[in-house]
Subunit: 92 residues, 14 copies
């Protein structure tokens, strides 16, 4: 097993698991926030503007943690510094 195979394997496996595991929390958190927003609108229809606005700001905050995971996953696939180094040593 040479360096290229090892780093490629580790990158592939990690890229998938990062977004796979990292999607659980945001999805559950957003589900909870959306669910409560609907209850709140049903209880207080006159405030639906404030509720919706607060909901979207909150969803953006929660989505940000999923996006951190997606960014790391993309970096590992397409801008992986370790892979770039190993390629440069092979091709250099």
């Amino acid at each position: 097993m040479d360096s290229i195979s090892l780093i490629a394997m580790a990158s592939v496996i990690t890229a998938g698991l990062t977004i796979g595991i990292g999607a659980i929390g945001p999805a559950l958190g957003e589900g909870r926030a959306v669910a409560q927003a609907l209850t709140a609108i049903a209880q207080q229809p006159d405030e639906s503007d404030t509720i919706t606005r607060t909901l979207f700001v909150g969803l953006a905050m929660i989505e940000s943690t999923a996006i951190y995971c997606f960014v790391v996953s993309m970096i590992l696939l397409f801008a992986n510094p370790f892979w770039d180094y190993v390629l440069s040593t092979v091709e250099g």
Copy 2:
């Protein structure tokens, strides 16, 4: 075990697990949001338009985390940069 086998195996296993694990959170989160939406409509039928619209925006946000996983899974299967590199070295 040569590089091709190793990277192919890692890609296959990761592609499946990424979407397999990544589907749990969104499915549960969407189930919760839909369930609460139905309760909200039953409580406040007059607001069913606002509720449904907020629900669909929320579902789209939650679905997005599942789609991140699906995208990574597809990239691993059909646009895998490590696999492309290894193939190019073999065929080059």
Copy 3:
């Protein structure tokens, strides 16, 4: 263990686990949504049309995550790019 055995094994195991794990979340989420829909109908029979329509859109969204898993599972079994490559090298 040659490449063919390894990739075949990995594909078989992953194809099964992907849909096996991936069915847990949608099934639970749909169960929750259906259960709440029935409660909502019982509370507000006059809105059963809106409730049922919203339920079916929601179920379709949740089912979509199960279908992502099923698609990946089928791809791994019948349109596996890694398997195709290995076969082509063997037969080529």
Copy 4:
């Protein structure tokens, strides 16, 4: 350990685990839906037709995820493309 043993073992184990794990979610989800349906009928007997119809559509959706698992399990046992290939190479 030759290819035949390996692929046969992997298929046997995966076929069982796929349906074994995959039955947990649908069974729990259906149990929840049925339980809530009975509560709903008890609360609103006049709507038992709508409730029962919605329940059966919902159960069909949930059962579909169990059936995906069963289909993959059967494919692995009786229409396994990897097993077919290996047999063809042995007998060919």
Copy 5:
């Protein structure tokens, strides 16, 4: 370890685990459905016919997932295609 031992072991272990794991979900789901049915009958004795009928249809749906597991378990023990093939090669 020859092929016969390996496939026999894998079949034995999988046959047991499939039904062992697969019995958890249906048993819990049916327990929930039966429990709620009894509550419903106590609340609305006049609807006990509708409730009982809906319960039995629901139990049949839930039991079906346990039966999928039992079927796969029996296939692995008594109609295992991989075992049949290996026996035929040994005896053939």
Copy 6:
């Protein structure tokens, strides 16, 4: 490690684990059903006949999943087809 030891070990371990794991779900499910039945009788003593009858049908359904496990466990101990084959090859 010859075939006999391996298959015997696998059968012993699986026979125990099958019923061991498989007893958890039915026991919990039956406990829930019985518990709710008692609450229902306390709430509606006049319906105790209907409740008890529905309870026993439900318990029979739940017990059936435990019995599937027990049957597989007994088959593995006393009517194991793989063991029978291996014995026949040894003694034949």
Copy 7:
């Protein structure tokens, strides 16, 4: 490691784990049923006969799953068919 040691070890470990794991579910299920029975008696003292009788039938059903485990455990210790066979080959 000869056959005798292996089968003896597997039998010892499985016999213990079977009843160890298998006792969790029945104990929790019976605890729930007994607890609810006491609540029911406190709510409806006049029905304590019906409640107690239903409780005992239910406990017998739940206990049966523990007894399945105990039976398998005893069979593995004192009537183990694999052990008997191995002994017969050694002593025969």
Copy 8:
């Protein structure tokens, strides 16, 4: 590692784990039953005789699952048939 060491080790480890794991369920189940009994007495002091009697019968049932584990544990330590056999072969 001779047979004596192996079987002795397996017996020691299993004897401990059997009662260790097996004590969790009964202890939790009894705790629940006792807790509910006290609530029931506080609600309905006049029925404390019936409640206490039902509690003790229930505790005896639950304790029985712990005793099964203890019995198997003791058998493994002091009346272990496999150990007896191995000793007889050594000393015989």
Copy 9:
């Protein structure tokens, strides 16, 4: 690794884990029972004698499962039959 080391290690590890794991259940169960007893006394001070007496009988039952674990743990440390046998063979 001679027999003495192996059996001593197994005994040490098992003795600790048995009481370590076995203390979780009784402690939680007793905590629940005590907690409910205090609530019951606060609700019905006049019955504090009956409640306290029932509590102590219940605690004794729950404590018994912890004591089973402690007994097995002590037997493994100070009256271990396997250790005694091995010592006798060494010293004999």
Copy 10:
């Protein structure tokens, strides 16, 4: 790895894990009991003497399971019979 190292390692690891795992249950159980005691005092200040006394007896019972673990941990560190034996053989 000689006997001394092995038994010393096993003793060190087990001594720590025994009290580490064994502290979880009692701490949670006592936390629950204390929490409920405070609620009970707030509800029924006149019974604070009875409540406090019952609480302390209960805490002593729960603490006893932690003390069992601590005793075993101390025995393993400072009065370990297996370590004493091994030392005696080395120094003897």
Copy 11:
């Protein structure tokens, strides 16, 4: 496996898992905070300014734990001191 491969692999895997695991807690915590904020606005619309302001300060605190993980993940990928040292020894 040389130092470069090892440290690169460890960095890749850790970078992914750190943010993957570290995103679960903040996402769930933020989801809970947002959900409760919407309920609070629905209950007390006049205080929506105070509630929103407190929510955003709280979200910032919770997000900070996700950012710690993201920072460590980025450091491991792009400013890894161990990788820098190893590169310097290779190139130096």
Copy 12:
């Protein structure tokens, strides 16, 4: 790997895990007790003296289980009998 390394490693790892695992239970238990104490004070301010005093006695009991873990952890680091023995044999 000589005895010194092994015992030192085991001591280091165990010392950390003992207090790491052992801190979970007491922290959660104390959190629960404190939380309930504050509720109790809010409900019954006149009894805040009794409540606070009972709380502190309870916290001391719960803290004791954390202190057991800390003591064992410190013994393993600074008064480890096995380490002392090994050092004495090396230096002796």
Copy 13:
């Protein structure tokens, strides 16, 4: 694998996991505290100053546990005493 690789790998992996695992608890705890703070403000707007002040002190306490983890993580990356020692031996 030389000392440098080993210690570097261990430091990288531990630095990530420490903050990754350590962020779960504080994030959930802070989420709970913030959520309850918003409910409290909605219930008692006049006390929003006291509530906000208590909330911030509490958040600081909870954040401190996350900061302990971050500090250890940073020490492992940038002020690791073991790494410093190993470098000094290599370069010295």
Copy 14:
């Protein structure tokens, strides 16, 4: 792998895990206590002094378990007796 590498690795890994795992419990416990404190202040603003004072004493108790973990973590990094000994033997 020499002693220095082994002990350094074990210390690094344990130092991180100790505080990483040990931060979960206190953070959750403190979150619960703070959350309840805010509810209590909202219910009984006049007692906010007593509540805040009791909260801070309680937080200090809970924080103490996190500090135990931090102390052990720091000892392992900067005052590790085993590391000191090994260094003294190397340099001595």
